[in-house]
Symmetry: C2
Subunit: 216 residues, 2 copies
């Protein structure tokens, strides 16, 4: 995309992306509240005035950081799903990438961090965090409904309950990885998620899932 922009604008876009990558790191480790214009400007090698050319307020910087975190998460975790046929295998592969992404991220899960930071507050940043979590839960549930429609999950499986359990294992693996420095946390997390899918799967779904787990 940026190749087609005039070079000074392309440069601006690249600089903006650079700032946001840095900001995601700070926010995951120390919280979105740590993202002050002065702090981010200094660390990213901008003057305060220069950074204010990209983001006019702390709140705008926080919201842009959330959006950038969402976009890179969906790019890494969700986008590859387009190549998989709908059903339990697509769901399992999505969960594997989710866990892999959290395990590979410095500071762990960006969204778990900011959710804990904002869940006791009000304001537009809090609302944006809530919306991102709801969006991801809805995405997971969509995959589970596809799996049900494909005959891989039992017709009576409660997809909202399954989403709750999958999210639970993600939060727990993130806590173990970050706070307890447990290197087996990602393996425990994916094992819990896989067992959850298995419990609610049909015989056909279980065969596909077992085969997928074995060959990966």
């Amino acid at each position: 995309m940026s190749e087609k922009l005039p070079s000074h604008i392309a440069r601006g876009v690249r600089r903006r992306d650079e700032v946001l990558r840095f900001a995601i790191g700070v926010a995951t480790q120390e919280g979105l509240e740590a993202l002050t214009i002065g702090r981010v400007a200094e660390a990213a090698g901008f003057t305060k005035a220069g950074l204010l050319g990209h983001f006019t307020s702390k709140e705008e910087l926080q919201l842009a950081t959330l959006r950038a975190g969402r976009d890179s998460f969906l790019q890494a975790v969700l986008s590859p799903s387009a190549a998989d046929p709908p059903g339990i295998v697509r769901t399992y592969r999505l969960l594997k990438r989710w866990v892999g992404h959290v395990a590979a991220s410095e500071g762990g899960c960006f969204f778990a961090s900011v959710a804990a930071e904002y869940d006791g507050r009000g304001g537009v940043v809090r609302d944006a965090v809530e919306q991102l979590v709801r969006e991801w839960m809805a995405g997971l549930e969509h995959f589970l409904r596809e799996a049900k429609a494909a005959g891989h999950l039992r017709p009576d499986a409660d997809t909202a309950d399954i989403v709750f359990a999958l999210y639970a294992f993600e939060l727990a693996l993130n806590l173990r990885q970050q706070l307890l420095r447990d290197r087996k946390a990602p393996a425990r997390g994916i094992a819990g998620m896989t067992a959850t899918l298995y419990q609610h799967a049909t015989a056909a779904g279980r065969r596909l899932l077992k085969n997928e787990v074995r060959t990966r």
Copy 2:
């Protein structure tokens, strides 16, 4: 206890407890980092000098707040277990009180909040948070081992895996309650925990658990 202390000391202890109750509330909502001497002094009606008579530094105030949070949690959730016979029923009742405590706490789970706040940092406060989470996990595992010894959980049940799943459901219910304002979150949480125990229970354990869930 405090009745036997000289009255000026007893008053000091009460004032200290009062400050710590207030501090737990602030820390759950906004984080332990929000506990500055000036902030807490003002809100609790102390002068800064007066508060410094009780806590000599921000860090000491943070550590005392963690200990006070731990003590009131164990008092509410763990202490009543002494009256229950070891086994799956004692474990289930503990989980019910845990979920009830989180559901009733303004700002949700104090430990989930501070765990998320400190998991990307270093320092003595972080280490204290880690120790508290480990202590609680070890306590849960102790109850599960008792349930196994009583013949209520299968001999091959992996108690560390069960603790992981129980903790997962607690974190997920806390997120749903606080961030998504889902009033059914506690019910979902205890349902997930109960299903986890049930999966790993023996026939005798399942009978006891079913009976306990029905009569409560």
